[in-house]
Subunit: 280 residues, 2 copies
């Protein structure tokens, strides 16, 4: 299919167990950190060109393809770094970023997918969800924000929603960045140690951290219930930031190469336009 076979092992399949994933690992990739960083730089240009082709193709009305990267993770796992270092390499004109915070009162008055639907990327764009509708079956489950039967309903609703988005032309790339409990502790401690990082720290982060096992169980259920053939989950070991970034970039490249967007053919007479322009 494409050159990005090494990320296939990150895909959640039958019998997947989150507990078996080593957050320190670099599965599938044979290089070291320096090679990984070099490959990341190389990939940036490829990603940029593929996105431009995707946009050009959609603008010519020839295709409705888009890509949606869904990022989920425990605090400090590196979602922000993915946005900055992977997504940030693409022309901002090609990106639509949606960061989903705790829902507002108005959002809570609606179905949980009400605020998600309008943020789906239009044809030609790479959409990025920094947190997503999965919060509604993760923190909502762990914290009991919704009763069990409602959580149960949501898994099926998510699958229906994503199937519809996929059918409309959106390739959904679902990623959970997986750090270890110890790594999170070190990263949160660093935020406390550095005054220029204090603003990134929230005492609530420790409250969620205390529920680590509950979150891992909630993620395991998410993978079992919502990793579908058209929108599979990928669990990416994220203790090594360089590896996580490279893996996400590879997944995006694979999605775009799967679309294989082509420069559109002009819908005007090129030679006639040259003559018309030359005369001005």
């Amino acid at each position: 299919m494409n050159a990005h076979q090494w990320t296939h092992g990150l895909q959640v399949g039958e019998g997947f167990r989150l507990a078996d994933v080593d957050p320190d690992g670099t599965p599938g990739y044979r290089g070291d950190k320096a090679e990984g960083q070099a490959d990341l730089r190389t990939g940036l240009a490829a990603l940029g060109e593929l996105q431009e082709r995707l946009y050009a193709q959609s603008r010519a009305g020839e295709a409705k393809d888009a890509v949606l990267l869904v990022l989920q993770a425990m605090d400090s796992a590196g979602k922000g770094g993915i946005v900055k270092h992977v997504v940030g390499g693409v022309d901002p004109q090609g990106i639509v970023l949606a960061a989903f915070k705790a829902p507002t009162a108005e959002e809570r008055a609606h179905d949980f997918l009400w605020r998600i639907e309008p943020r789906l990327p239009a044809p030609g764009f790479i959409g990025v969800f920094d947190r997503s509708h999965y919060e509604d079956v993760l923190i909502a489950r762990v914290r009991g924000f919704a009763p069990p039967e409602e959580i149960e309903r949501r898994y099926a609703a998510i699958n229906d929603f994503e199937a519809r988005a996929t059918a409309s032309g959106i390739r959904i790339v679902k990623v959970m960045l997986h750090i270890s409990r110890d790594e999170q502790k070190a990263r949160l401690m660093e935020r406390l140690d550095r005054p220029d990082k204090h603003w990134k720290y929230n005492p609530g982060d420790v409250d969620e951290r205390m529920l680590w096992d509950d979150y891992m169980a909630a993620y395991q259920t998410v993978f079992e219930r919502t990793s579908t053939a058209s929108a599979p989950w990928h669990v990416i070991p994220a203790n090594r930031k360089w590896y996580a970034r490279l893996a996400v970039q590879e997944l995006l490249l694979a999605a775009l190469e799967g679309i294989d967007p082509q420069w559109p053919v002009a819908d005007f007479d090129v030679d006639a336009e040259k003559i018309r322009l030359a005369a001005t």
Copy 2:
């Protein structure tokens, strides 16, 4: 004030005449292309850090500051390049980009500022308008989409709108990228010569080009009527792309340094949190 004095000469003041600006010039900057490109790279990191501080400060509820870059230009003058190479150097999480196309039927049914207001950047963000409410006194005037008295009304409405935005904490950086008629011809011809650029070409571009003098007159009036003390216009010679990018970056840096955002002080007990985190 700051180190970016060299861009002061680009600001539209009393007696400004667009016809006097040389699109080939590099006013105020003493370096050549190679130095300009090196300075652009240096500036990227500075811009990124300032934006992060701005965001941190706003998140702590300490300030309502934001920056809004308004980009206007004739076709092919390099707006897209500014977004890609200047704005693209900043973490996408700190950017809100709005590209204003020809208004939809719904948008036309409202006042011209109706679609603009919701796209103003929230505190902490750098907003970018790729085209803007100024289209409503540029193409709208040249093409007669609105009667003269309505165009006349809009200049004052724009000044009121921008004064209100400024009072709410938004530093508005208004930029017209100024290319020459010959340079536009060369750039449009290149789009026709390269099949991978055909999608960027629109036969309507030549129609607008034929009204060049009318557009220059409309811009001149825009500068006279809407270059205010709090939201002045800047006309940037743009035949040399490297210069235009560097100048816009300098204007953004100056705006952010004018805000001088500080890392917020923690609103929690740092030592107590360290103890609490260590215990987990």
